[in-house]
Homo-oligomer: 199 residues x 2
């Protein structure tokens, strides 16, 4: 509103967040200013605090408040298996499954020549160092099943030293999904990657 | 994440905003922490600033950074017409139409006995004072076309002094809508409230 520049500034910033359009940004601002004023100083403090203390793990790029993240600090992880993911959110999704006991490396993106994202942006030097550690036996590429994710996995596979197993997470029908509604290319992948029933 | 309490705190606060569920709150937090870190101090400052300077107009309850809002300060508004709305967002929606030249009164809610919102919560004293101003000729109730909005308009109409015209915004088919998809009660209203073609 012409009269309330502080609100306009807030709306403009909120619109830059993912999934928040102009209407949502306005609705959130009104809700805060009219009904939830106490939340504003709390949000301000939370943003400041997160900005000040959250950084990236020096070993794997995961989000952390310490030099090494919880996974890298743990003494209960299997250092012989390395899972390469695109983002800290992907890392968390895999952690939430509870089935992976190895370590991670977060690329912080994927190769995307059109956007000018080449190998140097993906922390290749540190990944190479990690791939050279002596107890490593398997690298799992868990990049997204997108064109860019596949290309990134293909490219990075070339950096893995001989003798180390290279794998890719399985692509197939999502658990709980109905075949009728699964897209053709996923269903094709699922047929192609079929497993023996007793495996 | 167990390891990043500042992020968990941020996610928890974001979830309290309208339209933001647990997944969105996490997605926003990751986006900020990984790709848009510069936005965090800006957001913190914007929340602090808005919290500090945005208040309610002393005359109409609209959001304002001055004691009186832009509408109430203006010398170009018709003080003989008062439009009663539920919220500052409703006021803005009406202002955005550009067709209303009168003044406003923002109730900051609607009657809702089940939620314990009685007349006293709707700034009835100040509305009564406003309704007593000598140059007032018409009061337009622009509360929402909901059960509570209608009940609120009905109740408040009883406070309007004799001799002042009382009106309600028209209910009917939305402009650009298709009759086939309009709900029965709206269509019924539209028929009931039909106007002569040359009006």
């Amino acid at each position: 509103m012409a009269d309330v520049p502080s609100m306009d500034a807030l709306v403009a910033l909120l619109r830059r967040l993912p999934g928040i359009g102009p209407r949502s940004a306005q609705r959130i601002s009104y809700e805060l200013l009219v009904r939830k004023r106490d939340l504003m100083p709390q949000l301000a403090a939370a943003f400041q605090q997160a900005h000040a203390v959250v950084r990236f793990c020096e070993r794997c790029n995961n989000l952390s408040e310490a030099p090494l993240c919880a996974v890298c600090r743990s003494e209960h992880r299997d250092r012989s298996i390395l899972c390469v993911v695109e983002s800290p959110a992907d890392l968390r999704a895999i952690e939430d499954t509870g089935v992976f006991v190895g370590e991670f490396f977060v690329l912080m993106g994927h190769l995307s020549p059109l956007d000018g994202i080449g190998p140097e942006a993906l922390h290749i030097d540190r990944l190479s160092a990690r791939l050279g550690e002596t107890d490593l036996r398997e690298v799992i590429f868990a990049t997204n099943p997108t064109l860019e994710g596949e290309a990134t996995a293909q490219f990075l596979a070339g950096l893995v030293p001989d003798g180390i197993t290279i794998s890719r997470i399985a692509r197939g029908v999502p658990v709980g999904g109905e075949l009728e509604y699964v897209d053709r290319s996923t269903l094709g992948r699922a047929l192609h990657g079929r497993r023996l029933l007793d495996e």
